[in-house]
Symmetry: C2
Subunit: 336 residues, 2 copies
């Protein structure tokens, strides 16, 4: 089938983004709205369908020209059945057959994956990862998530939940994590936890710090990186611990997956070289030479197109990789 235009739908905790794109990733039109997930799946699906019709109309696309629909959504979900199991831990979002619902409403086959896998597929097809066969995508944002391309294919695992890279242990005796474990990468490196660690450091001492100049409860990760860059010693310590543990986590990913590229996305990467420089050094110190010599750590390229183009990449990748579920006792055996 020759691809016409592709609808990319990004369902996030705070916003919905819908765009229409060419198979080469050219954006023809897009819309963004608050998601209002608490209104429940019927309302949100209705909103998404309206947005899709609006972008189709805006682009002047005719009937039948949209050939596929791709959807990125918070997990856990089942990409093979296209069902959201529990979106963003939101009560009404249990077992929602999202691909069937959107396919019926919009008249094209739909494909679903979680937002981090979608972003990984987007960077792989359209962004920093073009041409790579082995790539790790890591988003460092409110939380820390990931997606992995291994041997040219998205790594899905047994039930679609591979690459939960924010929950690799980096300090087994360390900080409690929201997931219930201890010492996860996310417990240090997410934006939320960078700010929380700064508040803890401030509460533990009387040392002067620029971070005390406003209400401590409102501190963000961006405040911490800005103060560290300005030479504030307390902020610099918090930031240094952040980059050390992020480097350790990335080193674990390099030992696990032996990628040629690690792509860093998410809001915390807005700190630029203040993040990338020390993270690259920490990862280099911790990684075997023959793994390190083939890998680069680079920023993501898609910026505010990441959500929509990730969903478009899900639509383009899905027909090839979701047709058969390589799951134990189904297509399990490796036969020569």
């Amino acid at each position: 089938m020759t691809d016409g235009q592709i609808l990319g739908i990004d369902i996030g905790g705070t916003k919905l983004a819908v765009g229409l794109a060419t198979p080469e990733g050219g954006l023809l039109a897009r819309e963004r709205r608050p998601s209002g997930m608490v209104d429940g799946p019927d309302a949100v699906i209705g909103r998404v369908v309206e947005m899709a019709r609006a972008v189709i109309s805006e682009a002047g696309t005719g009937a039948g020209e949209v050939t596929r629909i791709g959807i990125g959504c918070g997990g856990p979900l089942d990409p093979w059945r296209g069902v959201v199991l529990n979106a963003l831990n939101n009560a009404g979002w249990i077992d929602i057959p999202l691909t069937d619902r959107l396919s019926d409403a919009l008249g094209a086959p739909a494909y679903l994956d979680n937002d981090a896998n979608a972003a990984a597929l987007g960077e792989h097809r359209f962004g920093a990862g073009r041409g790579t066969a082995n790539m790790v995508y890591l988003t460092v944002s409110t939380g820390v998530g990931g997606g992995v391309i291994a041997g040219g294919r998205l790594l899905r695992g047994e039930n679609g939940n591979a690459a939960e890279l924010g929950h690799l242990t980096v300090d087994a005796h360390g900080r409690p994590c929201q997931c219930g474990s201890v010492g996860c990468l996310e417990a240090y490196a997410s934006g939320t936890n960078i700010a929380a660690r700064a508040r803890e450091a401030l509460a533990a001492c009387d040392e002067p710090s620029r971070l005390r100049s406003g209400p401590v409860a409102d501190l963000t990760a961006a405040d911490v990186s800005a103060a560290a860059e300005a030479g504030d010693p307390l902020a610099a310590r918090v930031w240094s611990e952040t980059t050390t543990l992020l480097g350790a986590g990335i080193s674990s990913m390099i030992h696990a997956f032996n990628p040629s590229l690690v792509v860093l996305g998410g809001g915390v990467t807005a700190a630029g070289d203040l993040l990338l420089g020390p993270v690259r050094r920490a990862a280099a110190e911790r990684t075997m030479p023959w793994l390190h010599e083939v890998v680069r750590i680079v920023p993501a390229e898609l910026g505010d197109r990441a959500g929509i183009l990730g969903a478009v990449a899900v639509a383009l990748d899905g027909p090839r990789t979701l047709a058969e579920r390589p799951t134990s006792h189904v297509h399990g055996r490796t036969d020569a």
Copy 2:
């Protein structure tokens, strides 16, 4: 091609094992000798060829009945070219075209992979992992190594070094590791490091312990587990830290790969339920429910056949998975 008999060759740091097997993993004959790697590649390859001819003769196999040769060897190596880059860090073993040498001498196509990948393929085809599509194999022995089956395929990575699972960071501020990093799983859970940690614990206090009953320099991981089982408090603390960090490392692997099975092999697993019980509990505490609910942690099944049957599995898997190298800028792009 219908498979006849398959030669499995396991080149280890201390021993060579060569066996002849059916494609179903039935062992027809085998031999074992000290490897003497320091004698250099020519001598060792000569020894392996002699052993191969001996097992072929012992099994009464006729000319042309051996259709493939599989080789497992310490890395780093290049499985696609069949070249050992630096076997077991042994000086004479640099850039040895092992598959060409053995194929020429023995008259059948040869396939090579590292020993941990070979053991993973062996357990997947013939042992505890039969029928699984997503499996992690972890060997806990003198060192800690691994091999991963993802979506029915061995995970190789960019240059064949994926699944260096002993070098996932479990405590970023922890013990130095032989690899040059800090806080690797291997720095806690390998047999060598379990014994070293017990010696450090003994040196750090005067607490009575059964572990002081012999020369402390001769302590082994088996001594530590036996003393822990007998109720020795110091040994129990060392053992508990071992199983906690092994559980944390396995939890990282489950979050990375979302497997249905984690197979534990290697000498340290001789401790049986004393290891498995607390490792399962530690991994469960640290793993997200939707990942934990699909995974089991089980002992390896192949025992002293692991080396040979792993190599046989390399021979059976190689023609399918080594034909094309899915490496960046070669077969890199994911196209729908």
